[in-house]
Symmetry: C2
Subunit: 367 residues, 2 copies
Amino acid sequence: MHFSDALLLQSGKSIRDYTLAFETYGTLNADKSNVILVCHALNASHHVAGVYEGQAKSEGWWDNMIGPGKSVDTNKFFVIGVNNLGSCFGSTGPMHANPDTGEIYGSSFPVLTVEDWVNVQALLLDRLGVQQMAAVLGGSLGGMQALSWTLQYPERMRHAVVVASAPNLNAENIAFNEVARRAIVTDPDFHGGDFYAHNVVPERGLRIARMIGHITYLSDDVMNQKFGRELRDGPNIKFTTQDVEFQIESYLRYQGDKFSRYFDANTYLLITRALDYFDPAKKYGGKLSDALARSMAKFFLVSFTTDWRFAPNRSREMVQALLQNGRAVSYAEIDAPHGHDAFLLDDPRYLGAMRAYFEGIAKELTA
Amino acid sequence: MHFSDALLLQSGKSIRDYTLAFETYGTLNADKSNVILVCHALNASHHVAGVYEGQAKSEGWWDNMIGPGKSVDTNKFFVIGVNNLGSCFGSTGPMHANPDTGEIYGSSFPVLTVEDWVNVQALLLDRLGVQQMAAVLGGSLGGMQALSWTLQYPERMRHAVVVASAPNLNAENIAFNEVARRAIVTDPDFHGGDFYAHNVVPERGLRIARMIGHITYLSDDVMNQKFGRELRDGPNIKFTTQDVEFQIESYLRYQGDKFSRYFDANTYLLITRALDYFDPAKKYGGKLSDALARSMAKFFLVSFTTDWRFAPNRSREMVQALLQNGRAVSYAEIDAPHGHDAFLLDDPRYLGAMRAYFEGIAKELTA
């Protein structure tokens, strides 16, 4: 969907002539009340579920959750996956040309916030003629967008489903983001963000950024279980500081290499910064319950016991703030071993809890 | 102390004509029984305590613990601080010349293990005429050396004091080391480890390595308490992805910059690899209790509740393995907020427990 008009951003800058990539699944009902908007996290896109023509297997990042007969049942709901502005997966981003100059944006692409993304998503819904959604759903950074939706457009959704998320980043979260950003920015191939003109990619920095990220997505337990101290070429060590010795090293290098070949460095900076900045309680003196007083949605929050990136206590903060406002809140704390990544994985209790909640939403539609 | 003879290393390589930097504090008693050997961690040296001439303030990394009248009382003990081989603080390391070639070692410096360090320390004690020490003491990687001492030379110490340590690294520990190493090795200024010849230093990589390390040394709690989400140039965000916004970013950048100016990149690789490799239980099929059957020392272990690098359960593993062997073990789990760094900080309960234990050792000397 193309948008010609300039959109004023939180930074005071504006952007015009931009495109949003989105996908839909299921059928929009007559009164356009069965919409589920799915917001994505750092390394994801509008391709939430399903297969493209000729594909045997879905590359949709939430295909285990969303589809016909699944927890979020596309026989009942009209699901919209939208790629965030600034991404590198289809919507307008730093690798595209600035219509004002004809030059690639690069480092001049405006700095975006979660609030900006929500504003753009609202414009997309306007175009689709959707006034009120059944729910906004997101995990991690996507959960922050769902939360922000309830504050920016309280009347435009009946439910918000916030999975493995937090009401803001803590100092350690910001610290990991910052190390990743420094790795990218100090890569000589970054060229101040204008690497496109040099026909290079700051692959070294992106690799490091992804390796750091990956560590924070996994739990200690699952790392020990999957990799432990296993040597890749065992049984004996090779006495080398630079070659791979342990399986965990091999895994992280592989993840880093893969990521560096498809992810845009400027997008990485933008998205991690949007994460850092998100803090709806800030203008209420840090009082989250005051911030959430604007919300009108019913909430379902999910956290995972071994998630140390956005630990369960961060979800409980949101639950408490909502309860203090007398909002309807359901909360599931799933005992899962997989850390933050659990929100993307198959866990029967998790998928079951989601199914139950969305069945409730579906019943409201037909009531 | 200079050593001419070749020393066979665990890797099968050998090293000759090397020097160990060391310092001593206190007075060696007549029967040479009051020796406390202090082993250091990643970013430390033989300068454990005290001041150099003209200095107002000690730069000794354990000066709060070791000195006249302190927990490890140098009025009673003869304390030896020794700089590990391969370090960049005085002992022979990668920045020195290989006597076989006359060239700077660089990346050809032999890969070392904790066992190698202990063997070299034993040679130093031989030179000093010390047969049996009162104790070996170390924190973190230093604690691994103390543990290894009890297995390699069980009769050469009466006590081992192992603080904030672990019987091996887990997958997450190795993962963080590996990311740090990749940041260094992929820095174009690393030149395969032979950067000395190019008159450059892989500062970018060292900065990233140190920033990652620092995050793992601090607890989540203390980071939130010290930095939280505080902006450096508040109250408003500047909408920038590359400039410092948060205090935690400023702190990490400062720590990274400082470290990159004095720490050697090859040393960083060597020391983190020695950490990765340490695993005394490996040749006993992973059974730590079987490995520790060789030890004869009495043990004192200390851990800190908020240390997530070497969490208390890692110390408890050692305690259990020692108890299974019927060894005398004391264990203190200190409720401290500072994470792994706590082992270097002033905590009255921690310093008090150390004092009590070392007073006991001193009493044995005069008994």
